[in-house]
Symmetry: C2
DNA sequence: GTCTATACAACGATAGAC
DNA sequence: GTCTATCGTTGTATAGAC
C-alpha cells in the first residue's frame, strides 16, 4: 500500500475539483459574471485570467496595497479604463479573489467529511488533499493569507470561520480515533491547529522548501507521520 | 521539577533582555538616534514610543501600506511635520522596526547557543524563550512577518537568514540528542521548520488562541511535548 | 521642538471617442 | 470592447513661522 495517493488519484483530484485549465476559469468567470460588463465569455475569461495572474505576481511581490492599478494595467497590457470593465474597483478585485478561493475550499472540505470512515485514512486524505489544493492554487492561498486585513470585517470573519471549520474536521477525525482506541491525545484542538499551521507553511514558506529541496509529497508525508507519532498510533 | 521556568526565571528573562520598560525604549532610541533630529532623550523616547505603538495599532489593523502618515499623525497627536523629526520617511519607519526586532532576536538566540548541554533542556529553553519573546514583543513580530514584503530586498534576505539560523539551532539540538541516543528522527530540518511554524503561530493566530483560551504556558508546553513525541524520546 | 501651510506626484475612478 | 484623456482626491514630504 502506497503512502501517497497514486498519480491517477491526483488526476482525479484535478478533475473532481476542476482546479485548473478551462473548467476552473469558467467557474471563476461564472462566479462574478454579474460584476462585469463583458458579455462574451471567450474574451472575458482570457482577460480575467490575465488580470488575476498579474495581480498575484504584483501583490505577492510587493503587497496588494502597494500595487497600483497602473502597475496592473502595465502588467496585463489592458488599459486603465479597460480594467474597469472587469472589476468594480480595486478593493473588489481582492474581495473576489478571496471569495473564489473560499468557495472552492468550502466545496472541497465539504466532500472530505464522512468520506473515509477509518480515522487514520481520513487524516491522511485531509492532509494530502489540502497540501495538493495549496500546491495547485498556491498564489491564491498566499494572497488571501497576506491580504486578509485589507478586506471588510465580514469577509475577514468568514475566512477565519473557514479555518475554524477546517480545524474542527481534523479534531473530529482525531476524536473518532480516540474513541476507537487507536489514538491518545490530551488536546485535540491544539494538535489540529498545529496541523493547520504546518499545512499553511506550504504556501507561506515556499522559499524555505525550495532551498531545502522538499517535495510536496515528502512534506505531506512528514506532517502525516509526525501527526501519528503525536497521537501515539500503534 | 517544573515543566515551565519559574516566575523568577521569567523575571530574569525580562531583565536580561531588557524587553520592556524604560530600558527597552532607551535601546530603541540609541539604535536609530542618528536618524533623528531630536537631541533630548527624554522627549525623544516618549514620542518615539507613541509613534511605534500607533504604527503597530494602525498597521496591524489595516496594513502598513494602507496606513497613511495622516492616520499616524492623528493617532499619535503629533503633527505631520513633527513626525519627520523622528523618522526619515514612511518606509524608513518600517525598516527601523524590523531592524530593532532582528537585532534583539539575534542577541537573544546568540545567548541560547551552548548555554544548555542537555538537548532536551536545550530544546525546552529555546521553545519557552522564543514563545516568551513573542508574547512580550507581539506587535513587533506580527508587523515584521506581515510587512516584510514592503522592505528592501537586502533587508528581506536578512530576515529570512535569521529564520534559517533559528531553525539551525533547533536542528543542532536535535542532532546532539540523536548522537547521544536520546532521540530518533528521519528529517531534523523539516521537524525544526515545523517547530518554528508553531512558534510563529503564537503571534499569527492570537484570535484563535484567545477564542480557545490557550495560555502562553500551555501552548509552549504543548509544542515541547509533541516535539518529544516526534523525537521518540524515552 | 512643534506647528501650519503647502508643494506636487501618484492614486483610483470615470467620461466619451472609436 | 477597448482606448485616451482627464477628473478630483489623497498620498508623502518639506518650508518656514513660532
Amino acid at each position: 500500500m502506497s503512502d501517497w495517493p497514486h498519480e491517477t488519484t491526483i488526476s482525479a483530484f484535478k478533475r473532481a475539483w476542476a482546479l485548473e485549465g478551462e473548467a476552473f476559469w469558467l467557474t471563476v468567470f461564472s462566479m462574478h459574471q454579474e460584476k462585469m460588463q463583458i458579455k462574451s465569455p471567450k474574451v472575458a475569461i482570457a482577460n480575467l485570467q490575465k488580470i488575476f495572474e498579474a495581480t498575484f505576481k504584483l501583490a505577492n511581490a510587493k503587497g496588494f496595497q502597494a500595487m497600483s492599478l497602473r502597475d496592473l494595467s502595465r502588467e496585463t497590457g489592458i488599459s486603465m479604463g479597460g480594467l474597469y470593465a472587469y472589476i468594480g474597483s480595486k478593493n473588489d478585485l481582492a474581495s473576489v479573489i478571496e471569495g473564489v478561493l473560499r468557495n472552492y475550499i468550502d466545496k472541497v472540505i465539504g466532500e472530505l467529511v464522512n468520506e473515509y470512515l477509518d480515522p487514520v485514512e481520513s487524516l491522511r486524505a485531509i492532509i494530502c488533499g489540502e497540501i495538493f489544493m495549496i500546491q495547485i492554487l498556491n498564489p491564491w492561498y498566499y494572497f488571501c493569507y497576506m491580504e486578509l486585513k485589507g478586506l471588510e470585517r465580514e469577509q475577514q470573519q468568514q475566512a477565519l470561520d473557514l479555518e475554524l471549520r477546517f480545524d474542527r474536521i481534523l479534531v473530529d477525525a482525531i476524536r473518532t480515533g480516540i474513541k476507537q482506541g487507536k489514538f491518545s491525545c490530551d488536546n485535540p484542538e491544539l494538535l489540529a491547529a498545529s496541523i493547520t499551521a504546518q499545512l499553511q507553511q506550504w504556501h507561506l514558506k515556499q522559499w524555505k522548501f525550495k532551498l531545502q529541496e522538499v517535495s510536496m509529497e515528502a512534506y505531506a508525508q512528514h506532517i502525516f507521520e509526525n501527526l501519528l507519532l503525536c497521537l501515539n498510533h500503534r
